[in-house]
Amino acid sequence: MSDIKRYKTEPLKCWGKAKELRAKYYREYQEARSKGGICWSGGAEAIDVIPYAFGDDVHALTAEPYAAAIAFDPEFAHKCESALESKGWARDMCAYMRNYWGSVLIDEYAFGGPFPKPHFNLQSGFCCTHAKWFQVLSLWEDVPYFNIDIGTIPFWKEEHPNRLQYIVDQMQDSIEFIEKVTGRKCDDERLIEGVYNDSRTTSLWAKITELNQNTPAPLDEKSMYSLYVFTTLDRARKEFVDFYEELYAETKDRVERGIAALATERLRLMSDSQPPWAFLRVWRYLEQFGVVSTGSIYTIGLEGVWDIADDWSLTPREDLKSRGVELKTREDALRAMADWHMRRPIYAMFYNADWKSKLMVQYAKQWNCDAAMLHLNRGCEGTSLGIMENRTALIKAGLPVLTYEGNMGDDRDFDEGRTVARIDTFMESLGLNKLT
């Protein structure tokens, strides 16, 4: 133990603010209707800058983080899941969708009170569940629904004018849809401001996670799971931009002063897919071996926007203002936003195992990872696409790989004892013992 290098650690100063912002977000959605505002719901890929353009009192409920919040409370999650299963739906469907649907069926909001029915649902679909998720919800809730199809190949892989135009045209239609549903007019100046904010938020998250390439890593992945969520909640909000500016400055400061997330960092891990939310303590268990999980393509690239070079190297994409992109009209704003979001690395997961493998191998190189721990996630077909091919690719690249089965949203699919036993064996094979 005395031979182990120990880094200085400090709690994150902005941690409390993150908690406050998150609580405020869910409360604002809940109270929006009673305060005369607008509430709407959609997925993490929904283009939330569009509703943002309809006023400061428009509040979103983003489906996946809401469902993850349910999963974090297994007792509540079981109520949701049982409600759905008793109506005949299969338990192997998308676990986020099941948790969300169940919450609506039992009419309970995870943060207390009845489920706040939205004025409308606005989704962006690219996997086989996203669009159908809100198809069924909108039927139950009897609310209007608009789906923007973003199921084109990510623009970092292939760019064709028709693909961008297809998305932009649908965004234009979605504005008409919201105008009709809410009786409000789209504020184009606010739209443009929101687009700049959105690009800043998602660029900043990429820059923050890039700092984890340093040794010691300034952030651990368990904490990152709580911090990345703002990129999925309402990216265009200024308060989220400000929060990430603060977090970025603090993380840079930690790097400069050599402040570690884990004092005993001696092995750097990369993960994959969403974690089993009810069992984040597994990440703390890893720390007993001196293992820090630096992140994953999922953590950095779900909403973080990166430039992906021909050799698959990843560089945070500078936000639109920094790139000198001038937005004057609604069309400019929508075009810039569509182009921006079609550059997320996450899309590799949903389209092509080989692209994802290349990104993962690159991640391992840039983030100096020694090993990988892959979640065979029964809760998400999208992030599990090609995961066994990814495993092979990482092994071929010389990285030891541990897989474990679980489910991001349904704790019944996760065997904690078995997973811990697998971790023990994996650590033993890497020559690591517990440090305490």
């Binding site: 039927l139 629904y145 028709n162 649908q170 090609g386 995961i387």
Partner: protein, 376 residues
């Protein structure tokens, strides 16, 4: 009368290899029925759909996580076994995640000289989907031209459209006969016909269909129709299962799945811009659940119309295990059937079918349907 179709179905690989030897042409193995076959026929390329074999295999575990559907696992097994090694090209028209995985594994381990991923729209109802898809077809044509070295002309496209439309029209004629009180064909025979249409040169298939249509209307079968059933759901070429059901005094008289009617139900309507015309056809066809995501539930309307027209008494709802899009639809679809007075029975399919267990369950379902007919 259906021997030719059955033979093609059972010897699909031999057929494709012989076709290549005979014509010197290229074979394109494709996934999902949203692939615009018209363009491939225009390029003199033979499109053949990738099917499983319904044989257990241990080749997939290292490529696909266990919660992916049996059909995609079976397809990957066929690829790894080398059964599609004769394919010159492989393509997918974007549909579900599971088939994207098949394409990926194929590309990684057995790449062919032409690999193509077509991003087909999800929002098929959007007015913007049509010009977008037509543009995708143009990009695809350029890639195919580069691959084959052959320029695709308007006349070529017209030829492709004509071949496909004729095939669709002829199979719809056969389907009309299923509506009769005593249909002259079984569901199994129909499945051999529709499945083989996705495996052989449609010009030959059309000739066989024309011959069939001369003889079929006057065919006298020695079996009773029994309970009129519809089969609805995921990809299905489970001949053994269909045979078992139809051995229990019942007949499948309608279907909605992508190895059956869903793949050919509508035709390309002629218009000046051929690519827009082809795009319209694919966007407006009876949708796969992955392409039906509006509050109109277009698929359900289509299925119910079909069921009513065929005077269906019961519906067997089938699903490839782990298929999310179908799993989302099924409880609502079953309710739609029941609300229309049609009982349903749900079965989950795997690579191999547990015939004994399914037989007991289907017997019980049919018994329940017969009990509905008792005069009390």
């Amino acid at each position: 009368m259906f021997d030719q179709f059955k033979n093609w179905y059972e010897n699909r690989h031999e057929y494709a290899k012989e076709w290549k030897a005979k014509t010197g042409g290229k074979v394109m193995a494709y996934m999902c029925t949203y692939v615009p076959e018209e363009i491939l026929y225009a390029a003199d390329v033979l499109p053949i759909r990738v099917y499983g074999s319904h044989e257990a295999s241990d080749l997939t575990e290292q490529h696909i996580f266990g919660m992916y559907c049996p059909f995609c696992r079976d397809c990957v097994a066929q690829v790894m076994e080398g059964r599609y090694d004769y394919a010159d090209g492989v393509m997918i028209s974007q549909s579900c995640l599971h088939m994207r995985q098949v394409y990926s594994s194929w590309e990684i381990h057995k790449p062919t000289e032409f690999m193509y991923y077509m991003p087909f729209p999800i929002a098929v109802e959007s007015k913007h989907a049509r010009p977008h898809l037509a543009a995708e077809f143009k990009i695809f044509i350029e890639a195919v031209e580069k691959w084959t070295g052959k320029k695709i002309t308007v006349q070529d496209l017209d030829r492709g459209i004509e071949i496909l439309n004729k095939n669709r029209e002829l199979m719809r004629e056969v389907y009309k006969l299923r509506l009769l009180d005593n249909p002259p064909l079984t569901g199994v025979e129909c499945m051999h016909m529709t499945s083989s249409s996705q495996m052989v040169d449609k010009r030959e298939h059309n000739q066989a269909l024309e011959k069939l249509l001369k003889e079929l209307p006057s065919r006298k079968t020695d079996r009773e129709t029994g309970i009129r059933l519809m089969i609805v759901g995921s990809e299905c070429d489970d001949i053994e299962f269909m045979e078992m059901v139809e051995s229990l005094n019942s007949t499948f008289v309608a279907d909605d799945h992508c190895t059956g009617s869903r793949a050919f139900w509508n035709s390309v309507e002629p218009e000046e811009d051929r690519l827009l015309a082809i795009a319209k056809r694919y966007l407006e066809r009876p949708p796969c659940p992955t392409k039906d995501a509006t509050k109109n539930f277009v698929r359900f309307h289509h299925v119910m119309e079909m069921a009513k027209e065929a005077k269906v008494e019961g519906a067997v709802i089938i699903q490839q295990k782990f298929c999310d899009p179908h799993e989302i639809d099924i409880p609502l679809l079953r309710k739609r059937f029941e609300d229309n007075g049609i009982r349903t029975y749900f079965l989950e399919l795997d690579v191999t079918v547990p015939i004994g267990q399914f037989k007991i369950r289907i017997e019980a379902f049919l018994e329940m349907l017969r009990a509905d007919e008792l005069p009390f």
